[in-house]
């Protein structure tokens, strides 16, 4: 055992986030930390990595009791953490980010840029990321930024690397790269603590597991001894059944039709972002879109939603009538709703209350004379809190204090409030725990049953295969395959995605 946690209790203003947690992590193995959001995984990881210095109980590292006053302490003994929320500085280059706080200098005390660039190139090579080390982080996709975070930990040469949801934003091919890196690290005698909600993925990489629930350690052991359902049951404390949807017969006219849609890059001499996209969506249909990072999925949504009015060619029509959206409100008026990928930066105003976030899209309809009709607003919020089972202490709670799953439900709720005909969902369950995930799936299916046309973009193939009636695969800005649910296999999708 390289790292042990004994009787750890951590309280936040009196409320225990962790209670008498006892866990052990084996050397040279990948140990998966499982649990719903709010189970205490992140809190535990923050204690292990020195972010939280105040706690009860003790940490045993290499058979010695240790206490970290800050992250630097933890890094110095060899424990590094890759946070789920990326900690990169956008307007510094890849190299500058990787070496931040650990810059190499020559004997004059001047930055040794050449050496740092060389080392960065080397790290990027190991991570199979072909990028110029001097690229600004701001110009990278989220998936690529995640890999830069991993490069940072690699540079530290840590003995224990904690990865908090490392694959939540990266594509399947990037996951493969990550796994091969993890295997290399294991061969070099490193130990990995791996937090993820994706059980399929864990099976491929993790040896052991530990389960947290409501701040307590519930179970641990070898992953191969456990079935999916057993693990989930232990995590949520109850059985979860996935609902099956009977694919309806779509005979009606097209709700949405996209013809020869192209989106030119704003940068000169750059390839188009979307090329000649053609597809349709029926009422009540769930259309899944798969593809690797950078395939143009999010850009397709943005284009449909009127965020790139200048550079598009082609035709978008809703219910047979042409649409030329100049701004999001045009798209909203035409019945579109867009649940964005990044809820913290694009979905929510974190410092506002649940009520204020939920009503923001529909304040126009909640008008009473000059003023906002507060009663109607409260009623609207209460309705959606109930229908989507949003867990919040009150309507006035700031959304920043809610868990990821509940935040995501609020984003969905604010869009449902606009009574859309077409719902665009970009990674609807990213960073959401299994319990909330299932509730979101149920909501999506139910909405489709009620007649909404839904397009789901997801990097998780199982999610797409579970939800979608029909699947489009995108690669390099083009649609490379289309298949019905019955004919879809992970193999087929991947082949179309990698061109």
């Amino acid at each position: 055992m390289i790292l042990q946690v004994q009787n750890i209790t951590k309280r936040f203003s009196g409320v225990a986030a962790l209670e008498n947690v006892n866990l052990a992590f084996a050397k040279g193995k990948v140990t998966a930390v499982l649990g719903e959001n709010g189970a205490g995984k992140s809190t535990l990881m923050k204690i292990l990595s020195g972010v939280y210095p105040d706690y009860e109980g003790q940490i045993i590292y290499k058979n010695q009791s240790v206490h970290f006053a800050n992250t630097k302490d933890a890094q110095n003994v060899g424990i590094a953490i890759i946070h789920q929320e990326l900690n990169l500085i956008p307007y510094l280059s890849i190299q500058e980010n990787i070496f931040l706080g650990r810059e190499l200098t020559n004997s004059w005390g001047v930055l040794d840029k050449k050496a740092m660039l060389a080392k960065t190139s080397e790290l990027l090579n190991t991570l199979k990321l072909s990028l110029n080390p001097e690229t600004l982080v701001a110009d990278l996709k989220i998936g690529q930024q995640q890999i830069i975070e991993i490069a940072k930990a690699l540079l530290l040469d840590s003995e224990v690397i904690i990865m908090d949801e490392p694959t939540s934003a990266i594509s399947d091919s990037e996951v493969e790269v990550l796994f091969s890196i993890i295997n290399d690290l294991l061969n070099a005698g490193k130990s990995i603590i791996y937090i993820s909600h994706k059980l399929d993925e864990l099976r491929k990489i993790a040896h052991n597991y530990v389960i947290l629930r409501d701040g307590k350690s519930i179970d641990s052991g070898e992953l191969k001894d456990m079935t999916h359902d057993e693990l989930i049951a232990k995590m949520v404390g109850r059985e979860i059944k996935m609902m099956q949807r009977n694919v309806p017969d779509f005979s009606e006219n097209n709700l949405l039709k996209v013809e020869n849609l192209s989106l030119k890059s704003t940068q000169k001499n750059k390839d188009s972002i979307l090329k000649d996209i053609n597809f349709h969506l029926k009422k009540g249909e769930i259309l899944g879109i798969c593809g690797l990072m950078g395939a143009g999925r999010t850009e397709l949504f943005e284009t449909l939603f009127g965020l790139h009015p200048q550079n598009i060619e082609g035709k978008i029509s809703i219910n047979g009538s042409d649409c030329k959206f100049k701004k999001p409100s045009d798209a909203i008026n035409a019945g579109l709703a867009f649940v964005t990928e990044d809820r913290k930066h694009e979905g929510l105003v974190l410092g506002m209350s649940v009520r204020e976030n939920l009503s923001i899209t529909t304040l126009k309809d909640l008008q009473k004379g000059f003023f906002v009709d507060e009663k109607a607003e409260v009623n609207l919020t209460a309705d959606y809190i109930k229908t989507l089972n949003i867990k919040t202490s009150s309507q006035e709670q700031f959304v920043k204090n809610l868990s990821g799953g509940n935040q995501q439900k609020i984003v969905i709720a604010k869009w449902l409030a606009t009574k859309p005909q077409i719902l665009l969902l970009d990674e609807p369950t990213r960073g959401v725990d299994i319990g909330a995930k299932n509730e979101i799936y149920k909501t999506i299916v139910q909405l489709a049953d009620e007649g909404l046309g839904i397009i789901v973009v997801s990097s998780e193939l199982p999610e797409i295969m579970l939800l979608a009636d029909r699947i489009l695969v995108m690669a390099e800005g083009k649609i490379t395959a289309e298949m019905r649910k019955e004919e879809a296999t992970e193999d087929k999708i991947l082949k179309a995605a990698i061109i």
Binding site: K327, I332, M352, I360, F370, F371, V372
Partner: protein, 318 residues
Amino acid sequence: MKNIAKFQSLIALFILCVLISFLSDKFLTVNNGWNVLRQISVNIVISVGMTLVVLTAGIDLSVGSILAISGAVTAGLLKNGIAIPSLNLFIGFSLLGAILAGLIVGSLSGFFSGFTITRFKIPPFVATLAMLTIARGLTMLYTEGFPISELGENFAFFGTGWLLGIPVPVWISGLVILVAVLMTQKTRLGRYIYAIGGNENAARLSGININQVKIFVYSVAGMLAAVGGILVTSRLDSAQPNAGISYELDAIAAVVIGGTSLSGGRGTIMGTVLGAVIIGVLNNGLVLLDVSPFWQQVVKGLVILVAVIIDKQNSKQD
């Protein structure tokens, strides 16, 4: 619990008042009370506009200059009208006409800042810094560097008159406060202002017309600066070409002491009003106590620091 921060400034104000009244027997008199309120009404009016801008995560450095140009235009039109000798044309202005023209000049200056900020994506700091010198320069051109004085008793009413036992500037600032509080707390526009400051991306994607709202707040800030300009001009019975210099700093100070976050999305009009009152009482008290004006500036700076430090501590606990 949420209101503790508000109470803190109130308590601070109370302690300040008690302290000064012990040190000076002139402080707690009706006369002095009206005097303080009359003095701060200009800053309150400007600060309210500044609050709206700061709530959207912007800043308006040009309000002092806009105050000057609006005051000068109002005074100039009132006194001289518009004369174009080559066309043998003369347009005279009534009192209300001149005031309206001043308000329009202020609003247009704000509109121009808002337009450059939204259309060309210029940071508000830079765009309004430019407006600061543009409006000051135009004031100098218009006044040729000389004050425009002797504007008549009717005009003096706005800055020095009384209505129902209360000074007119206090009525005006009260009205501005009332409308602004209702607007920020009760209307859709108010909600949009907070949302844009809290998360501009999320607001845009929610279908809010960000540019419209921003142009609106800068226009309102300009218009309220013009109101301030008219009050100042009326009180002095003279439009000074260098009126309002560094007033933007007093306004920002009131906003900040009032607990509004310069990064936007958090703060209230009443907080700003309280901030302006604290600054006003402090100024008045220090004058009554015969403290050197140099020390007054030092004290004001320290108060700003302390207020923001307390505010930071409060928001940490949140």
